[in-house]
């Protein structure tokens, strides 16, 4: 048998254990260095054979997660000696169109700084992109963004955001077919608010009555009457000194009770006034609700709007929103990945079999950020024979995840001077200023002589082929406020009739529609201006164009009178229902006002009357105080 700390007896000998002197054991097992060296060698071999492939996959995965859209890299070369990374065949899918690439680059070469790598920070001294193409078609659709990822959530929220901005489709229903609508009172906002207001008036009235009862006036008045009656005809001589003193004290106490009751009455008067004011406010709010109900009832009729701004929003709202939606996506990305400030930042940990946990960054002033691209130069050549053909040059500086450390905003410029005889240019510049605590981003893109999009006009069997023209978008975001403008000028627009039904290409449904189409087809030069302003979560979109102004004028001339009649009819119907439902609330408000005023006036009068009598009694009693040697009134 062996004991702890001793060498065990030899295996299988069966001999009795012998206590041996403790052997001297070294701390280090030198022969363990051999397998350690073998492991290190294996790591070097794996890096040399598979390192770049593993790194490529990691970069693809990280970039896909970062941008929220598929990023593919065909080849990666890393040179540790001069700290350069070269990517070949890079493509970034368009998050809004899975069959398109936003950007493709034949070669991306980055020169890294060495020391920050020791701190696990990527500082790119320069980045050069060559052989770039935009808007290329993919052979296979890109993988959708992970459903729970930030990008997918942003896309979803932007869809909701865009839906809120969309205007109803322009309607060109013939006015002569407008019929009376049957309004359900429950659908009207005024009726709902009137019912709520009636309930509020009831409860205020109940509260007023309860408060009046709570005044407890009767005991005070009874007490005052009793004192007055008791002292009626009593003189100080008859009462004597003590009796007079007692009587004066009683009168004074009762007067104090009356004064206290009067204060309660005044408080009730104020409450009654407030209650009446609340009900009056409710009545004013009913007027606003009534205006909303006019619009609602009008929408049931599907009357064609003849107001320019409405037509502009209905005809060109969608195409404007598409432009702004893309800008908003990248602005949200910038806000997420380039947050202002230097507080510790938490993000989900790496995916692994074990729980991912969360990884925290601890930025430190005057240190390297996690990522910084000091300067990137992009040479972009677009081939073919279209308006986009040409050479582009882009510069981007100070792209970082921690702008507070870099203390310089991210700036980028992109310009193109076209070749091949096409007079076209694109200029873009922008600043992402997240250095301070407040985000301040601005972007301006001007495109001249480029091919503008073609799109259908909602609600009409016609399509606008804008052809070559000019487009400009300017966006300014400060904190949570946005001001953006998109202008588009198509001097040679072509209109193409489309089918409203599979069998009838370009068929016109009614006279109004025919008129609208005639006006539209008469326009050669189309100018659109869309303004997006306000809180970034709930901005206001205002779209106007020369077409909607012209269309509005023509529609007003032709159908204005009929439309006015139809609107008057709708208003009358709303008024009938609303007046019927709001009459009781108005009566209740009047009754509340009258009841409050009456009760207060009555209480004041009764208390004043009793107080007057008490004052008279007190005066009579105190008139003899000199004779009887009573103290003063104080």
């Amino acid at each position: 048998m062996s004991i702890a700390g001793s060498a065990p007896s030899s295996a299988g000998t069966g001999a009795e254990p012998v206590l041996l002197p403790r052997q001297r054991r070294g701390i280090v097992r030198w022969k363990g260095i051999i397998p350690l060296a073998l492991i290190l060698l294996a790591i070097v071999v794996v890096w040399l054979t598979m390192g770049e492939a593993l790194l490529r996959n990691t970069i693809e995965e990280a970039a896909t997660k970062f941008l929220g859209t598929e990023v593919d890299i065909a080849q990666l070369d890393v040179s540790l000696r001069d700290a350069t990374v070269e990517l070949r065949g890079v493509s970034i899918a368009d998050p809004f169109d899975r069959m398109r690439n936003l950007v493709e680059a034949d070669r991306v070469r980055g020169v890294l700084e060495g020391r920050p790598l020791l701190e696990r920070k990527i500082i790119l001294r320069t980045l050069v992109l060559g052989g770039m193409r935009t808007g290329t078609t993919r052979r296979t659709p890109s993988a959708p963004a992970p459903k729970n990822g930030f990008a997918a959530a942003t896309l979803r929220s932007l869809d909701v955001w865009a839906a809120r901005l969309r205007k109803p489709v322009a309607s060109f229903t013939p006015i002569d077919t407008i019929r009376s609508i049957v309004l359900d009172p429950a659908q009207l906002a005024t009726v709902k608010r009137a019912l709520e207001a009636a309930s509020r008036a009831d409860s205020l009235q109940g509260a007023l009555v309860a408060s009046y009862r709570g005044l407890a006036l009767e005991p005070v008045l009874d007490s005052a009457r009793a004192v007055t009656t008791r002292l009626k005809g009593a003189s100080p001589r008859a009462l004597g000194i003590d009796g007079t003193r007692q009587a004066v004290a009683d009168v004074r106490r009762t007067i104090a009770q009356v004064d206290s009751a009067k204060k309660r009455v005044e408080a009730l008067a104020r409450d009654a006034k407030t209650s009446v004011a609340i009900v009056d406010d409710e009545l004013h709010a009913l007027d606003d609700a009534r205006r909303a109900d006019y619009a609602f009832a009008r929408s049931l009729l599907k009357l064609p709007s003849i107001e320019g701004p409405d037509l502009g929003g209905a005809l060109f709202g969608d195409v404007s929103i598409d432009r702004f939606q893309k800008v908003m996506y990248w602005a949200e990305m910038a806000q997420k990945y380039v947050p202002p400030g230097l507080l510790p930042r938490e993000k989900p940990g790496p995916q692994r079999l074990r729980m991912a946990g969360s990884t925290v960054s601890f930025p430190k002033a005057r240190e390297y950020p996690d990522f910084l691209l000091k300067r990137g130069d992009i040479a972009l050549a677009v081939g073919g024979r279209n308006a986009a053909t040409g050479n582009y040059a882009a510069t981007i500086t100070n792209v970082t995840t921690m702008p507070a450390l870099v203390r310089e905003p991210t700036r980028f410029t992109l310009s193109r001077r076209s070749t091949a005889g096409v007079v076209a240019s694109i200029d873009s510049r922008g600043v992402l200023d997240h250095v301070g605590g407040r985000i301040r981003d601005s972007l301006g893109v001007t495109a001249s002589g480029v091919t503008l999009p073609s799109f259908p006009l909602p609600g009409l069997p016609i399509r606008a082929n804008l052809g070559a023209g000019n487009s400009r978008i300017d966006v300014l975001r400060v904190g949570n406020r946005i001001a953006a403008r998109w202008t588009m000028d198509a001097p040679d627009v072509a209109w193409q009739r489309t089918a409203t039904s599979p069998t009838a290409a370009g068929a016109v449904r009614n006279q109004m529609e025919a008129l609208a189409l005639r006006v539209i087809e008469g326009v050669d030069d189309l100018n659109i201006t869309a303004d997006l302003t306000g809180d970034i979560a709930k901005p206001t979109l205002n779209v106007r164009s020369n077409l909607d102004q012209l269309l509005a004028e023509r529609l007003r001339t032709v159908g204005g009178e009929e439309l006015a009649k139809a609107e008057a009819k709708v208003r009358a119907q709303v008024d009938r229902i609303v007046d019927e439902k709001t009459a009781p609330i108005k009566a209740k408000a009047d009754s509340l006002r009258a009841e409050g005023e009456q009760r207060v006036a009555e209480a004041r009068a009764r208390l004043d009357d009793e107080k007057q009598k008490l004052d008279d009694r007190l005066k009579a009693l105190l008139s003899a105080r000199g004779i009887l040697g009573l103290p003063g009134t104080e």
Partner: protein, 173 residues
């Protein structure tokens, strides 16, 4: 099944190795790090190197790794909570983390991940208890069943295998 047999073989060999109970216990405590903490991290490379070059039981380390892996998975939410508390909810430590994670090489430890930091702290806290417990169990085993097992045919079969010779390379001196 094979893994189970290997584990059993490893256990028997360790218990009857030339190592002292303390060497076996230290090996087990170091091996626990591999099981308790997420494996692909720099600190585990250091632990593995220590298991190889320090005169502790390598086999006990490998055995402890296998035994502590399920425990690591189970305790992950606790480690996450501990890590979160240390990284995010203890303002007094923020300057320390800020200094550490802006120091060359330290960010590669991944100690700024809640689960990694929490599990490493958990392992360090458990290190001494594991050493004491394993040492106690080895002493008890050797004093009670050790000799009977050593004389059994099963033990002779295990020690006669070729793998045993390789294993002896890493057994404590």
């Amino acid at each position: 099944m094979l893994a189970l047999l290997k584990t059993l073989q490893s256990l028997i060999k360790e218990l009857h190795s030339d190592g002292t109970p303390l060497q076996i216990a230290l090996g087990a405590a170091l091996g626990a790090a591999l099981g308790l903490t997420p494996i692909a991290n720099v600190h585990n490379a250091i632990v593995l190197a220590l298991l190889l070059i320090l005169n502790v039981s390598f086999g006990a380390g490998m055995l402890a790794w296998g035994l502590f892996v399920p425990l690591g998975f189970i305790l992950d939410p606790v480690f996450d909570r501990v890590g979160h508390m240390l990284l995010m909810e203890t303002p007094a430590l923020t300057p320390l983390w800020t200094s550490w994670f802006n120091t060359p090489l330290v960010p590669y430890t991944n100690f700024n991940n809640t689960v990694v930091l929490g599990s490493v702290v958990g392992w360090l806290v458990l290190f001494i208890p594991i050493v004491l417990l394993v040492k106690f169990l080895v002493v008890r085993y050797r004093a009670t069943y050790g000799e009977r097992v050593r004389k059994s045919k099963f033990y002779r079969a295990v020690t006669a295998s070729q793998a045993y010779n390789v294993y002896r390379w890493f057994s404590p001196e």
